[in-house]
Structure formats: C-alpha cells, structure tokens
C-alpha cells in the first residue's frame, strides 16, 4: 500500500530527455531517407537512385507513420532490435528504403563528425518549403517537432560533443562488440534504467511472477547503481526486493539510502545556487511512512507505531491530508483494540471520501466490512457494504481494490459456510480482465489471485478430486514460489494432505504434516494435532494439546488474524479454531463418559456459530451433538438434530461431511428402530431401508479415499445383514472388511465420529 505514490520523489532528474543518442540519430536518418524517396517520387527532387522505385502504397505510407511514431516514443533500442523491427513482417516498408537507410547510416559513421553535421543540415531542408507546394514535414507535426528538437540539439553541440556522438554511433552499430563478458549483459543508460525500474516496480505491485527473481533483480540493480550512483528509485526498488527476501537489515539500509538520495540533486549541490535546493519536506513524510511499512511487515509493532507517529507529526505540520490519511490507514491496520479499530476506520472512510482519496476510502471500507463480519454484524448489512464498495471501485476504476473486495467477498462466503458461493466469486476474480492497455497491459496476479486459486484447489479437494487439486496447487507453486505470500499454497496443500492421511489412518505421516504446519501457523497445527490424537484414541496427549491450544487461542489478540490482507480461508480462523477446539473437547469428554460436560461444550460452540452466522459450522456442531447424544442413547433427539442439519450439509458440505452425516443418519435410524416396539416383519423392512444410506456413505467415503471410514460402514453392513439373516451378503461384506483391514490396518480405541474435516 505504501508503495503507491510514495516513491522518493525528485530524485534528481538529469535533463537528458532530449539528448541526441545514437539511436535517435538512426531514427533521424531513417526519416530522412523516407522523405527523400517520397520527394523523389513526387518529382521534387532530382535524387537519382530513388527515381526508379515505384510510388509507395497507402499501406506503406501508413506503416511508416506508425513506425516513426513508435520510434519517437519508445526508449532507445539496440541496433539488433532496430534491425529486427525493420525486417519485413512487422511493418510494410519498401526494401530499398531500408537498405538505403543502413547504407547512409554507415556512411555517417565513416564520415565521423562531418556526417552528423551534414545530417543536421539536410534535416532542416526537409522542414523548409521546397520550390513548389508544401514542405515535406510540417513544422508543427509530431515528426516536425521531434526533428526541430534534435536539430537544435545538434546545433548546440560543441565539437567534442559531436565527436563523442559519432564515437557512440560507431559502438552502437558495431555488432562485433558482443562478447561473453558478464558486464555487457545489462548495459543501460539512465533513461533505460528509469524505465526498467518503474516497470519492475509496477510488476512487483501487480504481478510479482512477471518481475525478475530476487537474485537477478538484485544483480540488475547493482549494475544500475554502479553506473548511476544517485539513482534513488533504484535503491527503493532494491529495498522492495530485500523485503521480498525478508532481509530486514538490507531493506532498512536501502530505504535509508534511497530517501537520503531522493531529497536533493547532488549534482546541483556542487554546481547550482543553494536557494534552488530548498524544498518542502514531502519526501521525508513518505520516508517515515515507508519506515512504518517496513517495521509493520516484519512484525515490529511498536516501532511501526512510533514511525507512524512521526509521520503524523510531520504531515500535521505540513497539513498534508493525503499522508495523514495514509497513516491513519496504517494505524487501523496496526490497532489491536477492535472498538478503536472500528472508530478509526469510520473516520478513515469519511475523511478519505471527503478529500477524494478514493483508494484509501475503499480500503478503509473493506477493512471495516471485514471487521464487522467478524464481530457478528448481520450478513445482509455486510453484503450491503460490499456492494457499496464494489460500486465505488467501479466508479473510480480501482482495479486493485476491486480484486481485494472480491477476495474479501469470497472469504466472507467461506466464513458464513457457503463455500460454493465463495468458489463462484473466486472464479470471477480469476477471470476478471485486469490488464490496462495504457500501462503495459500487465495483468494483476497478486495475493488475491493466489487466494482465489487456493480456494479452488481446496474446493476440488473437498469434492474428492485430489488429482485436479494437486495440479492447481502445482500451478500456484510455480507462480508464487518466491513471494512473500508463498506460504498460502503450502498451507492449503498441507491442510488437504493432513486430512487425507488421517482418513487413511496413517498416523505417523499425519504427525509429520502437523509438525510441518507448525512452521506456518502454530494454532492451526495444534488443532490438527489434537484431532489426530483423538483419532488415535490417545486422550491423554489429546487433552494436553487441547489445553495448550485453548491457552494459545485466549492469548491471541483479537485483531491479529483479521488484518489486511486476509489470507483467504483463514478469515475468522480464530473463531473456527475456537469452535473446533470446543468440539474436540466434547469428543474427549464423551470418550471419558462425561457426557454432560461434553454437551456443555457443544452448546458453547453452537453459540459462537449462531452469533457469527457460521451456518455450515453450526450444522457440523449439531452433527457432533447428535453423535454424542446417540452415544447417550438419546436416539430421538439425535435423529431430530441430524434431520435438522442434514440439508445444509448436503448443499454446502464437503463430501466427507456428507458421508459422515449420512452414516450418522443411518446409525440413528437403526438405533431408533431398536427402540420402537413393532412386529419383526416391519422391523426388518425398516432396517432394510437403511441399506441405501449405508451404500451412499460407502460410495462417498470410497470417493474421497477415506478407507478407514469405509471399513466402519462395511462392518456395519455385515452386522445388519447378519441380523437380518442374509448370510451370503454378510459373508461378502465380511470378506471385504477383511481385505480392507489387511490393506489399511489400524489401531484405535476411538469410536466417536469427529465432524471436522476438509
């Protein structure tokens, strides 16, 4: 955020925009050749070798005009590239013109200084009126202005300058100089360096994967800085690059360097008068703001706040509203007290929209929306905010914020338990047309995109399409390997793999994954570890892990995990983990036959879910409650609960959740049939009704490769067939169970289903 508009300004600008470079000489010669030929065709010049060629077609004239416009505007290209441009295929040009052009260019090189001086003279003639009709090039046309500027420069040049230009032209045209010297690789003039730096800056902001890799970029910057020592922007780029590598010391050094240089022109210090150097202190405010950004992104909370206070003091003195609002945005980001945050954001949004700072207003609104959603504001209101924000973003063409808002919308849908809607929004985000043709057509490919991709991968895994999900994760890995948010895909991957190994009953492997996850997110890994322990039936260790997790969750400061930018499905992670922790605690207690306490935990969990409108999570808590009540033989209650929540799970739940719910329903029905007193025939038919449910559960579990659960279902089928007296079916099921057990042997003493999964 702070990278916007806060580049070290006024890094001294050499007034070399209009300097005649070898490339420009080539362009001039090219224009001259075309004009001479054209004049010859019009019969106004007795030039001999052009008289023979046929008149140019309208297409050729048009192409020449387009090409010359392009050449005037672009930065200096090497001679090789120039020749490639002139090759047939790109532009429709007359071959004679091209060959004449190269010949006369080489002639100029041969003639040395006099060739250049002659060139100036001949160009001036083109602007003057010939004997009859209009001049070849109008003085006030684009080309005319360009030529006049260049001629003026050529006129002004001292003899040394001309000689030097001629020498430079020689090296420019010299193809043999290409060597394998590493120094030659990046040969950039000041202006090219400026272009390169600004391009890289845009790419870092929008689409990091297009930018050079950190190592290469550093090499290029070193090269540029070697030749232009006072190039503040290059140092700033280096600063951002170091931030990519998470190297605080170097990043700090570069930041200082860039702003020290950005303040003033050093050349001016020696040569010019001092008054010109007195300027306002805008750069310092940005310097301070960037310092805050640096500390904030390395988690130095207090230092970041100190830096922000400095910024506020400086900008307050200078009445710089923009800087003040930017600082306020950062304060919102850093504030830990939720109520304070909301107050600050309100102020940020109103103030920014008053002073027409649309980006900040939009950002503030997004943060506000997120905070509101997490504090349990009614969903309708949340979507209203999102809508307002979308409209504002469209009005002011804030592509960046549009992406943020879409990502936020997806995260909110996920949070409320509507992953399908989240998927839809993520796809919308990915297909959005974000390239701006006026700015190099660089498509956005930032953290939000990454989030959307992870969302899709997660969704596919939830549907049991592991192979597809894997290929998507692989894609993300390729795209975001070196970026600051690269942990996102890794975490998604680990998240999925954990449950897969868990369902296969590979405890050791699952434990390994838990420890890998701990690197990225301690709380998440602890929750998973507790889950694993309970699955294993190790209630003792499970309890200690749960205790640790509870302590951690109570210590996490409210705001720390809903800061911008929000990592996708991690929005509301704290709440989700709290609910999961309560559910696991309930399972633990029921395993120790302490059902009353367990149900207390469950009701706490469902309270949290209701308060925050987390519908899918609520359904899962309900299922867990039903599971426990079934254990307590409260069959009717359990059945009611299952039926109540089944719909939402079937519509939005993952395959695992659907399978577990179906299996639970089957067990409830079975238990219910046992309680009612009716004749054996009716009982039998009732029990037979359960088979389709079991088959469905089995199919689902098979699909998601949860063979551990398939075994349970098959076992139950066998029991039921035995009970009903179908021996043949019973035997096939028994055999199937035996086979599965040999393939996936498992030792566990846990018989309570846990409703936490992908």
């Amino acid at each position: 955020m702070a990278t916007r508009e806060s580049l070290p300004l006024n890094s001294f600008k050499l007034n070399n925009d209009d300097r005649v470079s070898p490339f420009k000489v080539a362009v001039l010669v090219f224009v001259r050749e075309y004009c001479t030929a054209r004049l010859a065709q019009l019969g106004m010049s007795p030039h001999s070798h052009y008289n023979s060629i046929p008149p140019f077609s309208p297409q050729q004239c048009k192409d020449f005009c387009l090409l010359s416009l392009e050449l005037i505007q672009c930065y200096d290209v090497t001679w090789e590239d120039f020749e490639i441009i002139l090759e047939p295929g790109h532009y429709n040009l007359n071959a004679t013109i091209v060959s004449e052009f190269t010949q006369s260019l080489h002639q100029i090189v041969k003639d040395g200084a006099s060739g250049l001086l002659d060139l100036g003279e001949s160009l001036e003639k083109l602007l003057m009126e010939p004997a009859k009709g209009k001049p070849m090039i109008r003085r006030d046309s684009v080309l005319g202005i360009f030529i006049r500027k260049m001629v003026l420069q050529l006129d002004r040049m001292t003899f040394e300058g001309t000689v030097e230009l001629s020498n430079n032209l020689t090296t420019y045209l010299d193809k043999s100089k290409q060597s394998d010297d590493p120094l030659e690789l990046v040969q950039v003039s000041r202006k090219q360096a400026e272009l390169l730096v600004s391009q890289q800056l845009t790419m870092l902001q929008r689409n990091e994967s297009l930018a050079h890799s950190p190592v290469n970029l550093q090499k290029i910057i070193d090269r540029i800085l070697h030749e232009n020592k006072d190039f503040a922007e290059a140092n700033f780029l280096a600063h951002l690059n170091e931030m990519r590598c998470q190297d605080f010391g170097q990043a700090e050094k570069r930041l200082h360097q860039s702003y020290d240089q950005g303040t003033i022109s050093v050349e001016g210090l020696i040569h010019s008068k001092l008054e010109e150097n007195l300027m306002n202190n805008k750069t310092f405010r940005h310097a301070s703001l960037n310092m805050a950004f640096l500390h904030a992104s390395f988690g130095h909370h207090e230092l970041a706040v100190t830096a922000l206070c400095e910024t506020v003091a400086l900008s307050g003195e200078a009445a710089d509203h923009i800087c003040l609002q930017e600082s306020l945005a950062w304060f919102c980001h850093l504030e830990e007290n939720p109520e304070m945050r909301l107050k600050m954001m309100e102020r940020l949004v109103t103030k920014s929209s008053e002073s027409n700072l649309h980006y900040l207003a939009s950002l503030g609104l997004a943060m506000w929306t997120q905070d509101c959603a997490l504090t349990g504001v009614v969903p309708t209101r949340i979507f209203e905010y999102l809508h307002t924000n979308d409209v504002a973003n469209c009005q002011h063409s804030l592509t960046d914020m549009t992406l943020t808002c879409l990502a936020l919308r997806a995260a909110i849908w996920n949070f409320y338990g509507y992953p399908r809607n989240a998927l839809q929004v993520s796809q919308l985000l990915l297909t959005l047309h974000t390239g701006d043709p006026t700015k190099g057509n660089i498509y956005y490919n930032n953290e939000h995109m990454h989030m959307a991709i992870c969302n899709i991968a997660l969704h596919l895994s939830r549907q049991g399409r592991y192979a597809d999900a894997e290929s998507i994760t692989k894609f993300a890995a390729g795209q975001y390997a070196f970026q600051q948010h690269s942990q996102m895909w890794k975490m998604t991957d680990l998240h999925v793999t954990f449950y897969r190994t868990l369902w296969l009953g590979q405890w050791d492997k699952a434990e390994l994954i838990v420890s890998q996850l701990a690197v990225f997110d301690r709380a998440e890994s602890q929750a998973k570890k507790a889950h694993l322990m309970l699955c294993k039936g190790d209630t003792c260790q499970g309890k200690s892990v749960l205790n640790a997790l509870e302590e951690k969750l109570s210590n996490i400061k409210e705001s720390s995990n809903h800061r911008m930018p929000n990592p996708g499905w991690k929005m509301g992670q704290n709440l989700r983990l709290q609910v999961q922790c309560l559910m696991l605690r309930a399972v633990l207690l029921s395993a120790r036959q302490n059902f009353v306490e367990a149900l207390l935990q469950i009701s706490q969990a469902s309270d949290i879910c209701t308060k925050h409108h987390m519908s899918l999570q609520l359904a899962l808590v309900g299922m867990q409650s039903a599971e426990i009540q079934l254990l307590m033989n409260f069959t009717a209650n359990a059945l009611d609960l299952v039926r109540k929540h089944l719909n939402i799970i079937y519509t939005h739940g993952s395959l695992f959740e659907q399978g577990a719910a179906t299996y639970l329903l089957a067990r409830c029905l079975l238990a219910e049939s046992g309680t009612k007193k009716c004749d054996p025939g009716e009982l039998k038919s009732k029990k037979a009704e359960i088979f389709p449910l079991l088959t469905r559960a089995k199919r689902i579990f098979n699909q998601i490769e949860a063979f551990h659960y398939v075994k349970d279902v098959v076992f139950m089928e066998a029991l039921l067939y035995n009970h009903l007296g179908y021996e043949k079916e019973r035997n096939t099921r028994a055999m199937l169970f035996k086979q599965l057990d040999e393939l996936y042997p498992l030792k566990t003493s846990n018989n309570i289903q846990i409703f936490i999964g992908l």
Binding site: E160, G161, E164, N167, N168, T171, D181, L183, Q187, S189, R190, H226, E227, N228, K229, E252, H256, Q257, D260, Q261, T263, I264, S265, V266, E267, L269, I270, H271, L274, N277, L278, M279, N281, F284, A287, S288, M291, L303, T306, A307, E310, A313, L314
Partner: protein, 569 residues
Amino acid sequence: MAVVLDEFNFETLVIAQDLLNAGEECTLRGLNYTAKWLAELDFAVSKKLDPDVADSLEYQQPKRKGRARYILAKKYFDVKEYSRCAHYTQECTDPVSLFLHYYSRYMAGEKTIVEDESDKSSETKLAHLKLLHHDLGRLRNTSRWDGYLCYLYGLVLRKMDLPHSLQVLQDSVNLNPLNWAAWLELANLIKNSEMLSQLKLPDCWMKFLFMGHILGDLHLDEAALNLYEKLHQGVFEHSLYIKSQIAKIYYSLRDGIQAATKFSEIREEDPYCLDAMDVYSNVLYVQINQPELAQLAHQAFAVDKYRVETCCIVGNYYGLRGQHEKAVLYLQRALKLNPHYSYAWTIMGHENIEMKNSNAAIACYRKATEMNMRDFRAWYGLGQAYEILKMPLYSLYYYRMAQSLKPDDSRMLVALGDAYDKLDRLHDAKKCYWKAHCVGDLECIALLRLAKTYDKLKETDHAAAAYCDYLRDSEKQGSGEGDEHHGQAYLYLASYYLSKGPQFLDLAREYAQKCVEYPTTLADGKALLREVVQRCQEENSRDQSSIFSSRQPLRRVGGEDSLNLVFTP
C-alpha cells in the same frame, strides 16, 4: 585487537636501500605520487644514517632493450600525452615499458573522464576500463606478470566494482611489497578488522606502515597510535608522514592540543606542505583558534589555491567566521576539483546544517558516506539532520551506524541515547548514557542525561547518585558552562533529600543553598529553603530532647549514603 604485530626489527640500511630501489622503479613506471611519497620517506630515513653510508647507496638499473623508445614514451607520459605514450610502447615486452603502456592507457581514459565529467554517458566511462580488464586478464598467467601490473589490474577491478579486486591487490602487495599505491588501494577495500585479520600480507617493513594506515582508518586509534609511536621512535623519526599520521590520530582521539602541536611542528619543518593540512584546519576549527586558522588559510592559498586541501581550509575558516555561504562556495570548489573527496562532502554537510538546510545536508552526508563508509562524522551528521527534521526513528539508524564505527566515542553514545530518549525507549537510553560515561565522557554530559533518564523512570535513588557524580566530575573538570545544569542538579538533590525524611534535612538545606547561587534556580531554591527550614522547626518541636545527640551521626550516615548509592543499570 584483530592483528597482533611482532616487533619491528628491520635494519635502517635495508629500509633505505628498499626505498631507493622502489622509488626509482616507480619513477620509471610513471607512478609519480608513489615515488614522491617514497622519496619523502627515503629522505627521512637517510637522516638516520651516516651521511657517507647514505650517499653510497645506489640503484642498480637493470639492462634492457629499446632504451630510446622507452625514453621517448616516458617523456610523452611526463608531459601528459598518454595516448601517444601508449602508442609508442605498444609492442614492448620488457616489464617497465609494458607497465607504462597499460598505465598510460589507464591514465588516458581517466584524463578524458575528468575533462568532461558531465558530458559522458556511463557506458563510455567504463569503456577503457573494460578493455584494460580484458587485456590485463589475458596477461595475468604469463611470465611477464609482475607486482606492478597486478596492482594496475587490481585498480581497474576496483574501479569497476568487481569483487575479486581484493584478492588481486593482495597478490600485488605480495609480489611487490614496496609499491605503496597498491597498499593504499588495498586499504580502500578493507571494511572491518575481521577482513583485515584474514589478509595474507608479506613480511616486509612496509606492512607496518600499512597497518598504521588501516588501523587509523578503522578507527582503532589506540592501536594505530601505539604502532606509529613505535615507528616514530625508531627508523622513521624524521618522517613528516608518520608525524602527520600521529597528528591525525590525536585528532581522532579528540586530543586537539596534541594534534595541533604535531601539525604546527610539521608546518615549521615544511611550510609548503599541504598534505593533511585539511585535518589541521579541522583541529583548529574545533579549538576555535581563528587567528591560527586564518594564517593557515592565507599560507595555503599562497602555496596552491587550486588544491582541494586549500579550498577545505578556506571553507573551514569561513565556517568558523560564521560566513557559511562563502564556506560552501569554497567547498564546492574543492568538490569540483575532486568529487571523490569525502572530507569536503562532510564539511559541506556541516555547513548546510548551520544554514538550516537539512535536505542539502542529508544529501552531502550521504555522498560522504558513499565515498568513505567509515566516515563516522558523516553518519553522525545524517543522524543530526534527521533529528532536526523531527524524525528520531530515522536518526536512530544513523547514530547506530556512527556508534558502531566508533564504539568508544562518548559523543556517539550520547547521541544514540538522546535518540532513544526521544523515542521513549528509556531503558535503552539509560544503557547508552551509562556506556558513554564508562568510556570517558569529556563533556560530562552523559551523567547529567543519565540522571534525567533515571528521574523519568522514577528511579530516584539512582538519579540522585548520578547527579552527585555529575557534580563531582564536572567540578573536577572545572567546566564553567554547565552552570544551568548545576543549578538543576542541586535543585533535584535538594528536593530528593527533602522527600527522603527528617534525617536528611541538613543535606537538603545544603543543596538548596547552592541552588540559590544560580540565577535559573534562584526562585525554586528559595522556596525549597523555606520548606526545609519549616520542616526543621517541625522536627525540633517534635523531638527537642534528643536533637543534638541524634543529628550529628545521622548527618554522617546521610553523607555516606549518598556516596554508596550504586547506579549500575
């Protein structure tokens, strides 16, 4: 200490012979500045020798082919027709002409760069270096490779900022330890004492001079001074170079008087010497010795007004007179003469600070740090500039840099402490002030700040003890400026003892009476005094019987107590 040096045991005669040989060889090769430096040393060393012995030394010139061609080329070189010289030495194979060829090519390139600095694109600036890099690289593993060529190669590499320049220069001094220019280039690349300790250096007397130079550069002043003193007492007794180095180190150790004496000795001996006189002008500036500085400026101007040192001296003189615009003008001239002169950049930064132009000051200081990253004054200046701009967090970084370059300088530590203080990191500030006090605080300011910090942290006992020590130390040093602070210290102590309890009332009265002596604390002192008297009366009325028996010993206890207070953080 990174490098331990063994005893300096080289014979004077050997050194003199070495100097003679090296001087002649450098002259042959056109390394004039090195030759000059060697000649100066030679002159100093020969004074130690018996005149007959000194005269009997001579340089054995090796026989070689193409004498006439060489002499022609050398003459061209001497009159600065470098390209012509290079042309005539193109085909030569003997080491001297070979070196002359490459060196003249290098000089030709440098000459054009200097002549039209701003006109050139960066590409052409490097062109001649690239060619030299290429050609010398090819020559490197042949039999014609020698120490001088190696030095030139290292120089080219350093100019191109290539990493292996360190290795090449190290090879060069090993191949030919008598080439002082190579040592100097090598010194430019050493960033810290660790790098220094990893160097493999030849066992030659020249190493000692190098060590002195580099130790001084790395601000390891004590070690450098030791070494130089030893050299000065021995062979190099008459060397002005050693003397000026010693003076520089005294300046760095903030011993202005010693530095000034040394410099004036040098001036007496060699009134036309301008080397290191810019440092002398700094010393005089710090001492506020305007007449001497004026004289120095005058004389320097007479000797050569287009020397960077002269411009710097004049700049300093104007700076001392408070005419900062003129000072800047002369410093600009110095920088036009040599844009790589970091000293002038630093002083220009100081002048800009004086003129309240922080932006320009920052740019100047930054430039100075780029020229010489060990220039702690520039880092300190950057910190100051940002402090003026009210950006303490920024200045903290620079003060830290300055402090790490000069860890034993109390000024840096106090500045660092002030920055922490402004950022409300009082515990860090406390540590800085304490360290500043421990390393020897000439201005006596650290204790005062320390006391104030303790006061802010509500550690009143420590604060009082620090104030006591401050008063004791500053009285010992007899600094007259601290009057205002003294008053405050007394005031604090008085109110501290007043709050301590009845048995300290006498001390409180004593300090309150001192307060009254200072104009700034007069009113507060009187009020305190009145309160003390009132308390005393209350005490008297309460406990009249035992007043005489108890007061005396208690007072003694109180006095002791104030000395026993420990305020180690």
